[in-house]
Every structure is written in C-alpha cells, then in structure tokens.
Symmetry: C2
Subunit: 421 residues, 2 copies
C-alpha cells in the first residue's frame, strides 16, 4: 500500500503530446479474455495503437455528467490526479480496481472544463466505437439518459431530470405539498443496479455462446420500469398518481409519526396489528371504534384516525416508542439520521462500513455493498485508483506489451503512469 497523504507526484508522460500517434512500430497486442477491472474514460480516438487497445480491453463503462465534477473538492481526496472530486466521494464506490491513462484527443473540443486541467488527461477510445470494432467477445454497456435512439437521444443523462421526466418526483412529496426528489440519486443507483445485473447476464450469455453483446440501460427506462403499481394503476385503470408523504395509499396506518424528538414509522398490515398498535398507544377506545375496525374503514376515515394517532405519538420520545413496540410483531422503525444509521447495531453487524487506505487521502470509509454470497467472502475493499495508477501494469499484464514498447508509449505521452509512492 502506498504511503498516506503525500504530495501528488507528476504523472509520467501525461499530457505532453496529447495528439501524438499511438503505438507505431509496436507488436500487435495479443488477444486476451476481456477484463472487467479496467476503466477507460469516455472520449474518441483513432490510430492503430488505440485500435489494438480497444480490441484487447473488455467491458466498457461510459463516464458521468458534468455534475460529477461540480462542487467543492472532496476534503479527504484533495490532490489526486483525477478531475476535482465531487464532495460526494461517489467515485469511491463507482471506480474500478485498476486505471489506465491515455491522452484525451478530444480535449480541445470539450471546452473550458477540459482546458482548466491541461495536465489531467483522461482518455478512452471507446465511446464512439461499434461493437464490431471492439471484438466479438466484448460486452459493451451504454448507460445514457434516454436510450440509444429516439426523439431526445442527444440529451445528457442526469438523475434529477430523469426523476422528473419519469414521474418519480411527481409522486414523491407531501400530499398537499410540492414535488420532492429522493435524498440520494435513486434513479441513477437503480440504473447502476440494473446495469450490473445486465452485465452479469451478458457474461453468462458469453459463457454459453462465446459471443459478446451490447447492453442498453438508461435512466429514463429504469425509472419508468420502477414505477410498478403506480404505472399499472394508470395503464390499466387510468388512475392518476398522487403524492403520499410517508403514507401508504391503501393501508392505514402505515406512515411516519412525529415523536417528541424525531420520527417513527409504524404500520398496521392487518386488523390484528392495528389492535396491537392501539394497545401500545394506550388507545383502547380507538381499536373498538366501528369507524376503524377494518383497513377499508381506516382508509375511508384516514384523516381522523391519523390525527388521533399523531397526537399520541407526539407525547413520547422515539426511544420510548421503540421500546414499547419491540417484540410486538408490528412493523416499526425510527427515521434515522446518518449518525444513527452508522451506529445502528444491525448496520454494524451487516458490515456495511468498509474502511480502506487511499494512496493519497489516507484512511477512508464508504458504505456497502448490500449483498453477500455463501461461497466466497468479500474481498478486502480497495480504494479507487488514481488516474493512470495501473497504466504500465495493464499494458504489460493485460495487453502484453514489452518493456521497451511501454517505455516508448510513456516517452511520447501516448499513455501516462501515475507514480504512487
């Protein structure tokens, strides 16, 4: 592991000749099985050397939008070779294991944003390639905002815009209030998860057929697919969707209640659970009230009932209610803030905080992942690579270049190696 918090050394070869021809006189890269570990950032390119690289590399992920580079530099990651990281640390979870650095031939065309960081070359020859050019075994993934074709195909992909156009914002928010966006980019994340499954399915297909394929995931399609019952209600019954706050359209009570010092979510999935809720709240007269006997009646008399329950919930602190509901069989839970989430015994038990040493930022922590397999343990988490951290390693071990050829590529600025010490 590299030392911590050192000043970033200059990048060998990076950006010196951004337009230099690639790989002239080099032996062709031997064919290798595609690797999923390598990132090449989006861009375009021509030339024999690049074509060789293209052929030899595997699954390709295209890059993100400008929002990813906005905002303050991430405090714990300041000083990496990459573009200024968003405050988000998001890259920490999205990065591949290794990173190859090529010059970015479209640098000038990318305008002011690129010109501001002339030494920070981010390259990748894949974005404009067809599957055929990439080789028959390659699994190519595209994940734009709207799709590969169609009336608005040229528009960029942004979580907020997709959440708006897909209707997710329309249905999120208080009943009488304005639309809201989920507090994290759930549309973006769901698209990533959809893509992850699709890549696995593509790899499975390749195992069976020996052939690669092109996968099309996009933000709009993902979020529309995730509208589930809200969409089905409209498509089949022309029931227009509405906002419900934290409540449920057809189960009452099933929502958040304000307590003395926070919020608790409580649901009564059936009449028996409703009686239990009333017992815990010490409201026996409510459970006997003929207006609230069944869920159908409770949906009809939602407002009066929720008013009664809300008043009662506001009289005790969240921790008191949690103790009272424990073991009751009723679905319940507090609305946690981050401090509470990351001190929750079950969150800690599930191993959801991953710590790792970053080459320049030192010890960092990120959440997840949310899946475990019985037959293999989680590998030790690795920090995101610096741009060009694995250039020589990839050229040698994945692409099969000899040392002198790699040296030539570095000297001409065709590739760059970030020298982590």
């Amino acid at each position: 592991m590299a030392q911590e918090r050192r000043p970033v050394p200059p990048c060998r070869g990076a950006g010196t000749q951004p337009g230099a021809a690639l790989g002239s006189g080099l032996p062709p890269a031997p064919a290798r099985p595609p690797s999923r570990e390598i990132r090449a950032c989006p861009g375009s390119g021509t030339g024999r050397g690049r074509r060789r690289l293209r052929r030899a590399l595997g699954a390709v992920a295209s890059g993100g939008d400008a929002a990813r580079r906005a905002g303050k530099k991430e405090p714990v990651l300041r000083g990496t070779l990459e573009e200024p990281l968003p405050r988000s640390c998001r890259r920490l979870r999205q990065s591949p294991e290794r990173c190859l650095c090529l010059p970015f031939p479209g640098q000038r065309r990318r305008g002011a944003e690129r010109r501001r960081f002339p030494g920070r070359v981010l390259a990748g020859p894949f974005a404009t390639m067809n599957l055929g050019d990439l080789g028959a075994e390659v699994i190519k993934v595209e994940r734009p905002g709207y799709g590969q074709t169609g009336p608005v195909v040229q528009r960029g992909g942004y979580d907020s815009i997709a959440a708006a156009v897909s209707g997710l914002m329309h249905i999120t928010g208080h009943e009488d209030g304005e639309p809201v966006r989920p507090g994290v980019a759930m549309t973006d994340l769901a698209t990533g998860l959809y893509t992850y499954g699709a890549i696995m399915a593509g790899l499975l297909q390749r195992y069976k057929t020996g052939k690669g394929l092109h996968i099309d995931c996009n933000l709009l399609s993902t979020q529309v697919a995730c509208l589930t019952h809200v969409a089905a209600n409209y498509l089949n019954c022309k029931i227009e969707a509405k906002r419900w706050g934290t409540a449920h359209g057809s189960i009452v009570p099933y929502q958040a209640f304000k307590t003395k010092d926070g919020y608790i979510v409580v649901g009564a999935g059936n009449d028996h659970q409703f009686v239990t809720v009333c017992k815990i709240l010490n409201l026996p007269e409510v459970s006997k009230d003929s207006r609230y006997k069944t869920n159908t009646l409770r949906v009809q008399n939602r407002k009066e009932l929720i008013d009664i329950l809300s008043t009662r919930f506001s009289e005790k602190a969240t921790i008191e209610w949690l103790q009272l509901f424990e073991g009751s069989g009723v679905p319940y839970g507090p609305i946690n803030n981050m401090q509470q989430v990351f001190s929750d015994p079950q969150v800690l038990h599930n191993g959801l905080v991953m710590e790792m040493n970053h080459p320049t930022a030192g010890k960092i922590a990120v959440p997840g992942p949310g899946v475990r397999y019985s037959e293999f343990a989680m590998s030790h988490p690795k920090p995101p690579p610096l741009v060009g951290q694995h250039t020589v390693e990839i050229l040698k071990s994945v692409l099969g270049y000899e040392d002198d050829a790699i040296e030539e590529l570095l000297c001409t600025g065709a590739v760059a190696q970030h020298e982590v010490r």
Copy 2:
C-alpha cells in the same frame, strides 16, 4: 392463449387434503438442471415427494410481506386463484413464467390471513431449508428485511421501515419540511435489482464451478449501500445529512421550479450553462451579477438567486419553457404525471409499455423492463401465471413424473392444477 374474462374454474385437487403425505410409491424424479422459471411460495415441508421436488427445482425466491395482500383487490385481476392482489398490479412484474401449486402445510400456523382463503393453497417447501438439503447446484436467495443474522433478524422486511431505518426518509423532503418516502418503493426495488444481479453472478459462478450458492440480500443493507455520497460525507467528514427538496447540495441552480401550470427541473452544471439559463430566462443582469459568477458563489447566495429564478419561471407555462430550453445544452425536463409519462415520445419509443393477455383479466399493461440486449430481442411478455397453472406441465417436463403418478398426486390433493380454459 386462454379466453378472456371467464369465471375462474375450480382448482383440481387444491386444498382437499392439505396435510397429505407426498409422492409415496412414486419413482424418484430424475436429476435435471435447475430452472429459474418456477416459483414456489414460502412455507415449510417434509416428506420424500417434497424432497424430490426440492432437489429438482432451481433458484428460489421467498415471498413478500402482509402489505402485499392489503388494500383493494386489483380491478383488472379480480378473480384469479391467488390471494387478493394488491391494487398495485405489482405481482404482474414480479411473477415467474410458470407456477406449480403444492399444498401449504403451515396453513394453520399462518393464522387468520391463511384461514380466510382455505381453497387458495400456496405452497413451497424451500423457506426453511438449508442449501445442503436443496442440492449442490441450487442457487438459494434470501431477501429479508435486515439480514440472515444480527440483533433484529427476526423482524419482517417492509420498504417503509427500511427506508426509515436506513436514513433514506431522513434525507428526502423539503429543506424545512418533514421527511418523505419516495413515491414508489425504491428500497424494495433496489433490493430486487441487487438480487437480480446477484442471481446472475451466482449462475455465472455455477457455470464456472458447478456449485450453487446461497445469496443474502436484504432491504437494510441495500439502502445503506445506496446512501453513497451522503454516507461517505458522514463517515469521512462527520457531515450530517439534510433534506434538500428537489435541489442539489453543491450545484446551484439544479432543482425544480414552479411554472404557471406545473414544474420544470433545470440545472446549470457549469458557469457557461448558467449564462445560458439566464439568457433563456431573459435575465442578463443576473448572469453578470458578481454574486452569481461561479457555482461556489451561487451556492453561497443560493436563496436570493433561486428567488429571482423562481419568480421568472412562474410567469410561463411548462410547455413554453420546454420549447425555450430545447437544444440549449442545459439539463432540463418537466415533472411529468403518469398521463404525461405514458404519452412521452421517448417513453413510447423505448417500448416501456408492455401489453399482454391475462388468462382471467383480459388485456393488461405493465411498465418495463429497462434493459435491452443486442443479441436477443425481448421475448413476448407473458402475464403472471395463476397459482397452479403449470403444475402438470412442471411435474411432467421438469420433474419427469409419469401421467399416472401425476394423476395420483392430483387425486390426493398433494398438488393442484388450475384449469385455465
């Protein structure tokens, strides 16, 4: 395809002898590769016949919570053999292609809910089985609320509760308002997508090793993993999360604005885009104002700037703004309701409305899926099966039972066939 909107015929053999011993005297089912098409609902069971079925069946999904059975019957699916469908139509997208019907030995133990539907036997012997019992090739998936082990492992899994405990509700809502839940069960959906990728990864692993495995996904872990930058900000910098409405914490403007008749989301990912936004809004003085020159300044002076922009946006209808922003390069989009989503040209172009004929409900439509592959077309969408619709077919073609053995199983009530006509 079955005729439409017929009354549901009785189910042969269903529920007549719920506790009957299975498969006595029958030849053992031949070994077959596991199938992913078959659903068996959760429950428990013993007996030789069941063990045979267990061995021969493949990936297993456990069932949902009580919320799934609450609310009104789904209007377009009334009359199917299954438990009353939620208004959601959710099952339409979650169902497998074929359905085998076995008796449910835990019927009495499941209490009132099960007793209400004595003829509606839903069975499945998998929920309490260990991987070893299921056979070495099986991929077993568990998807509870909190995980396989840990302090609150016994609690049920509910989207709303997981969204609360994981902090998603804490960060969703208006800046000065109360917490909100995303308008669809995004935690549930993200867990489903995580699980789908994990199953694909498990199948890939089985291709490589010949061995099955046990996959653990759960709602809490999924949503905590999906907290991304919000979690990383807390874990690394102890920055507590807050609610942002539709806005972005570090990009201004990047949020929804109220128009004369709706909402539009507009973002300025960089200073150039901000100038464009001001030009479209006919606010040249704002783009020249030194308080709003850079994004950092705009974040500092967020309130004043958003007030100015909001006033201007409220002066025209959404459609007028959409026309003005078209081709500007600025991220923008309307907040659509369901009617607008499902008449959006790109949504229609992406083929996101899937129509199909349901055996009892007639023509129905559901959204999705959100992924396409170059090497194979979407198969014609199939409606969810009725419970027991494919019992004989599966016993014969998957499990290799002879006709007379199947007849015996049906006669004793060990299995049931829904006779779709």
